[in-house]
Structure formats: structure tokens, C-alpha cells
Amino acid sequence: MPPWRFLVFGTLFGFVLSRARATDYDTIAGMFRLTDLHLMFVIGLGIGTAALGFWLLRRTGNRTLSGQPIALGTKRWHRGAIGGGLLFGAGWALSGACPGTSLAQFGEGKLVALFTIAGILAGTYAYGLVRSKLGTPAPTIRVRPAV
């Protein structure tokens, strides 16, 4: 599939994030205050639906509709999942956004998302710079056709 076609999937994903209220500051605040669990249920059912879909794909030989192999990219275990997860959560709480929702927010006309997006780029770059000085770790995504 030519790479530009992923623009369609990205547009769909941004649309659904917006309609799911994942881009809404007050919904994120409610989730972290544990007063509005809407988004946790959304993520939970999203996982269930994706898991069912991946299971169906595995059963049918892990091929795309046009017969190409599917490379989902498995996340291998590493201790960074703990520290990185907590650090990410802290940033999510301060900004009310994550890498996907900040971009969708900008499209919605929430112009403050530009600060979040700039911050994410800066944080990504800084992490890469520090890790490069310390020695580049192994990539965390392992691509293999079947899971």
C-alpha cells in the first residue's frame, strides 16, 4: 500500500478520537480525578475490539485484504515501560493531551495544542539525544509478520 493512503486511516483515527472526547480537556481531567470513567471504558472496549480483529486476522493467515503480510510490530518487554509510563502519565496530566490527541485538538481549532505538540517534539528529541550519548538502546518495536 502506498504510504500516502495512511492519511485516510489517520483522518479516521483523528475523527474518532475527537468524537470519543479523548481530545476534551474536561474528559481527561475527569478520568484522572476518577469522576468520569467514560474514556477508560472507551479504551477498554477499543482494546477488546482490536484484539478480536487481530485474532480474526491471525486465523486467516495474517494477510491484508490485498494479500500482503501484516506487520503489527510487537512491543517487547523492557524496564523503560515502568519509568517511561509514569513520566508519560505525568505529562498527560499536565497537558491534558497525548501524542495523537494533541494533533487532533489542533485540527479542532484548540490552538493551545501547538504548545503541547512543540513540547512533545522537544521531549522526543531530548530523549533521543541523551540516549544517543549514553549508547543507543535496541529498538523497542520488533516487527514480525505473525504474532
Binding site: 500500500m1 495512511f6 492519511l7 486511516f9 489517520g10 483522518t11 479516521l12 483523528g14 474518532v16 478520537l17 475527537s18 468524537r19 472526547r21 480537556y25 481531567a29 484522572f32 480525578r33 476518577l34 471504558f41 472496549l45 477499543g46 475490539t49 478480536l52 480483529g53 487481530f54 491484508t64 500482503q68 503489527l72 510490530g73 510487537t74 512491543k75 517487547r76 518487554w77 523503560g80 519509568g83 517511561g84 509510563g85 509514569l86 513520566l87 508519560f88 502519565g89 505525568a90 498527560w92 496530566a93 499536565l94 491534558g96 495523537g100 494533533l103 487532533a104 485540527g107 479542532e108 481549532g109 490552538l111 493551545v112 504548545f115 503541547t116 522526543t124 530523549y127 544517543s132 516487527v143
Partner: protein
């Protein structure tokens, strides 16, 4: 029908399966497990020679096309829903910072930086880890997601305590 799709809020039992369906379609039609945060590394790979970003996962063109669609999707949702009104407002945070734009800018930039560094350290974000990763049964994704939520709950309540919301 139009109202149900574009105007009224989606209940969680509609939004959740819709989210999972887009993940499934990206795999079934596109052959990829989607993930947003890696694309920020792809931007770093395009604009710098930092060795960390030389890894293959940062050199895949589809990731940039995918994230380019995210603002389009957000714009479509708000335009068709009749809510498109660009501005600097940001929900309840405006009350927490007494409407100060510099305070919001600082908070969002610092928060974004933690999100960016945390995602690279954890190896993913709520899309790649929490949905695509957990749906494949990855332990790293489950642990990272517990971290996202725990870190978020603790720091958000600290923030509210400090700002007095």
C-alpha cells in the same frame, strides 16, 4: 442519523468499538499496527542526525502520513458537528490558571516534553501501547498503560492541589 454521527456525544460503547475498528482497518487494509508517538521520532529523524532516530521504526513514511491525518480528522469532526471556532480556550484548565495564556503555554509545553520523553522511554503511547500493544497481549504495553494512568492520576491531583482548583 447525521446528528448521531456528527453532533451528539458518542457513548463509550460506540466510541470504544469505533476506535478498535480503525486500529483493525489499519492492520487489515494497511498491514500496519498503528502508533502515533513514533512519528514524532520520525520528524526528529528528518530534521537531525541524532543516532537514536536512525532506527528503522523512525524511517517509515507511512507514520508521517498517518499523523498528518489526525488534525484533518479533528477538523472534520468539529466542522461537521458545528463546533469549529478556533481559539486559545482549553476547558477547565482556563479556570485553574485564571485564564493566563503564558501559564497555559508553559504547562502544556512542559507536559508535552514529559509526554515525548516518556513515550520514547516506554516505547509507545496510548495508541501503540494501550490499544495495539495490549490487544496483542504485550506485557510491556500493559505495564506502560498502568504507568500512564497511575502517573496521570497522581500528577493531576497534585496539580489541582497546587493551583487550588
Amino acid at each position: 442519523m447525521y446528528d448521531a454521527i456528527f453532533v451528539t456525544a458518542w457513548p463509550w460503547w460506540v466510541a470504544g468499538p469505533a476506535l478498535g475498528l480503525v486500529v483493525f482497518l489499519t492492520a487489515w487494509l494497511g498491514g500496519k499496527g498503528l502508533g502515533v508517538s513514533t512519528a514524532y521520532g520520525s520528524v526528529c529523524a528528518l530534521t537531525s542526525r541524532v543516532p537514536f532516530f536512525a532506527a528503522k521504526e523512525y524511517r517509515e513514511a507511512w507514520r508521517l502520513w498517518f499523523v498528518l491525518g489526525l488534525p484533518i480528522g479533528g477538523a472534520v469532526a468539529f466542522l461537521l458537528g458545528g463546533r469549529f471556532a478556533p481559539g486559545w480556550a482549553y476547558g477547565g484548565l482556563d479556570g485553574l490558571v485564571a485564564g493566563s495564556l503564558p501559564a497555559k503555554a508553559g504547562l502544556l509545553f512542559v507536559g508535552g516534553a514529559l509526554v515525548g520523553a516518556g513515550a520514547r522511554w516506554a516505547g509507545g503511547c496510548p495508541s501503540g501501547h494501550s490499544i495495539v500493544g495490549i490487544a496483542q497481549g504485550s506485557i510491556a504495553s500493559l505495564v506502560a498503560t498502568a504507568g500512564f494512568m497511575l502517573g496521570g492520576v497522581v500528577v493531576f491531583n497534585l496539580l489541582v492541589a497546587v493551583l487550588g482548583g
